[in-house]
Every structure is written in C-alpha cells, then in structure tokens.
C-alpha cells in the first residue's frame, strides 16, 4: 500500500504568508506538494467555519497563517485570528480531533524558507498521525 499522503489546507493572508509561499517558489525551495493554499485578504477574516469545512471536505491538517502582529495591513487582523483560533481549538478538541492537526503560524513576506520548513514539518507530523477522523466524510476526491 502506498504511503499515506496527508492533505493540508493552508489559509494564507495575501500580504505576508501568500507572498512567503510565492517566495519559496521563486527561490526554488523544495517542500512537499501536499499543501493547498487558500489566499485570503487577511488572517482576521478567517472564521471557524472555513476550517471546519476544510476538515469536512477531507483535509488532514489545517494551517492558519498570516502577518505578524505589527505587519498587518488592517491593523488588528492577527489579534482577531488568534481569538478565533483559540475558540476553534477548544471546539475541535471536544469533537475529538487531535490538537496537532491545527497549526497557527505567522510567516512574513521574506520568510520563504520558514514557509517551506513549516509545511515539511507539518507533513511529517501528519504522516505519523494518519488520516483525519473525518476523512470518511469526503465524498469526491480532490485532484492532486
């Protein structure tokens, strides 16, 4: 049987993390192709349902990443994101999901290497954990 390849959904803010992922690409850094990036204008606009839906549609892990506190283009996006994330973590804990399947990162524009490292680490971690308990809900397979 082929090795389990986790699917990761990364919610990335347009100004920092998405640019960092772009930088990782242009710098030709090698990182696993398991990550699906969703670009959003700000990490502060991510609500709990985005992440729950990602799990419902078959994600094995979710990264929520945006600017650092002082870099936000909309003043307090990361603060809002932190508040949402803390709540969501408690919610999925009750639901029985392993806490390690959720990752909150702050990766700024110039940190392409950090992005590549985070994805690599996360993939290794998820490979140890195996498929998410919600993977049976996935109806259609997402094309890789």
């Amino acid at each position: 049987m082929a090795e389990f390849e986790p699917k990761i959904v990364a919610f990335a803010c347009n100004w920092c993390t998405y640019a960092a992922a772009d930088l990782a690409g242009t710098a030709r850094l090698q990182y696993p192709p398991n990550v699906y990036i969703v670009r959003l204008m700000c990490s502060g606009m991510i609500n709990a349902d985005y992440i729950l839906r990602a799990f419902e549609k078959g994600a094995d892990g979710v990264i929520v990443s945006g600017c650092k506190y002082t870099d936000c283009h909309y003043i307090d996006g990361p603060v809002k994101c932190d508040a949402m994330f803390a709540k969501l973590k408690r919610l999925v804990h009750i639901l029985g999901l392993e806490d390690e399947r959720l990752r909150r990162e702050m990766i700024s524009t110039s940190e392409g290497t950090v992005f590549a490292r985070v994805v690599k680490e996360f993939v290794d971690q998820l490979k140890k954990l195996g498929p998410s308990p919600f993977s049976s809900l996935r109806k259609e397979k997402v094309a890789v």
């Binding site: 729950l52 419902e56 919610l91 639901l95």
Partner: protein, 382 residues
Amino acid sequence: MSLEDIIQETKTYYCLECGKCTSVCPVAKYDPAFSPRMMIENALLGFENDLIFNRELFSCLTCYTCQQRCPSDVDFPVFIRKARAMAQDNGQHGICAHSGQLQSLARLMTSLDIKQRRLEWLSDEYRTSDDSDVLFWVGCAPYFEPIFEDIEFNALDITKASLKTLNLLGIEPKLLPNEKCCGHDALWTGDIETFKKLAEHNATQIKEAGVKKIIFSCPEGYRTFKLDYPNYGFDVGCELQHISEFLAERIEKDGLKFNEVKKKVTYQDPCRLGRHLGVYDAPRKILESIPGIELVEMQYSRWDSICCGTSAWTNCDSCSNMLRAERLSEATATGAETLITCCPKCQTHFRCAMIDKGEEKRSMPNIEIMDLANLVASAMGD
C-alpha cells in the same frame, strides 16, 4: 420529494387563503416580504422556483404559531421543512448564522471514526453511573460553551444544574460519552441526510445503553427524539421526559419541596416545548411550588408566546433582533427581575440581543435570564 408530494403530505390544499397565518406570524410582523400565505399560494399554483429560491424560505421560525391558528390545519412548519429540503437539493442553504459552524459541526459529527471529548467538564461533584436505567441527554451544551463565550452564556451551567438536581433527588444518571448532535437543526434546515445519519447513531447508542428513560434539559432534543425520530423510523424504545416534566411529576407524586428563593420572575415558553409538544404547565408548576417565587405572566404567554427569533441558526437578521427587543420589553414590562426559560437557544438569542444592540443602537431592555434548571438547583441546594 417533489412539490406535489409536499402539498399532499402537509395537506396544504386545504388552505382557505384566510391569511391568519400571516397575520399572527412573528416574522411577517417585522418583515413585510415574508408571508406564509404567499408561500402556500406559490406552492399550490406550482411556482416551485418562487418557493425554493426565495431567500425568505429560511426566515421561518417554525414556531408553530401559524399552525395553531390555521382553521384548515395546514402544517406550515413541516411544509417549510420539506420545502427547505428541496431547496438544499438545489444548492440553497439559507444564510447561516455564526458563520455556519453549527451546521458544519453537525455534519462533522456524522463521522463514525470520531471519539468525542464531550464530557471533560464532568467533575467529581456530579455523580453518574453506567448501570443506571436513566439517561441524561447532554446535547450540544459542550459545544455551545466555546462558541457563545462572547455573549457570556455557558450552556454547560444548565447541564450541571440539571445533573445536580437529579443527584439531589437520588438519581445517578448515565451519560453517553459519544452522543451525537440530535439533528434538530439539520432537520429544520432541510439537511435530511445528515439528520438521518445522526439519528441512526444516536438510536443505536441508546439501544446499546439499554436505558428505560431519557431526561432532556433541551426542548429541541426532546422534540426531535419524541416526534421526529419515530417519524423517520428511528425507535429509541424508552420513555422520554423533559426535566421540567420530570420535576413536576416528582412534586405531584412525592411532594418534592424546595427552599425559599425570593424572586419575581416571568416565564418564556420555548416554542419547541410549548407549541410543539404542549408542555405549558409543568414549568409553571415548578415555579409555583418554589416558595418566595412570584410568577408574573407576560402579555403573550403559553400558546401565544413570542419566539426568541431564530430557529435553526439560519437567517438571523434585524427582524429577529426586533422580535427579541419586543419580547424582552414585554418581559421587563411585567416588573419581573428574572426571565426564566427552559431552552438554551432562547437564552443564547436573548443574551446576544442584549449584548449586541444592532446597527440601530436601540435601547434594548435588560433583564436577567436564567434557565429553569439553574433556578431549581439553587432552590434545592443547601
């Protein structure tokens, strides 16, 4: 299910076009675009798209006020529920409140592989027993706790108070560690597939538990188990009781006595417990038997009572807020210091309305809200 089937099943063709439904409808009062009579007419004339692609379809509170007044006994709430199922098939989901996370949670719970950690709040203070033949249904309370933290509402307080009350009466109930959402909201938003899966999981778990009685602290769960599970062919095979009915029975049979609590209160009938199931007297009986409690009724009470403004976490808008303002001002007009209710959802919505005053910045009336279970627990404590 086609529109034809829905009409046949809910006997919509008996409609006399008298418009009583629309004139008593709490939503139609504030939202002129919403009209139950119009929806029925559209269905009878065969305008399927006008019905299912109408954004007002998800505004109905399914509070049963219309059904009670209908001279032809048209089951409008069930009609709405089935029309919503049709709308869901066509990709219409309504505008989900709380970013849709409550709907997502229900869908995620249909997974068989999950092992929930829903009883982590349970401390030694509460006695439970796995051999008991009484089951206490915890419901969504553990999930509500983080979600409604901002509005200072902790649904687990209700659960804890109910457990404490049961313990004081010498009952050590059984709790299911992996109970699923009852499916109430999935059913009423038309997501029948999710509802059926959840109902099946729950029915199997309850049968395996081999209990004789289930006690609910939430009227929605109670309604779903009592009416909807048998309707969809899921039999849990035991007696079902709301905690208020259980306590009222104890008062009548065993002469249960309470300590004195000095308070002037008014009571909000939850639509699920009142109009759906006809339980009006049990909560009032409890309130009357607590010494020191003075119960004053609101202008609209019992079968006339006004709903808290949203039913299945959909279409919560300014109209819902106006409904809440109306109900809260009725409550304050009675001069009562506390509004007692039996439903966690009523509490969520009233608390939310009092904290978030909406765009209009209306002066929302302010009143303390408490669940009946909490009041009983404080009247039974030392």
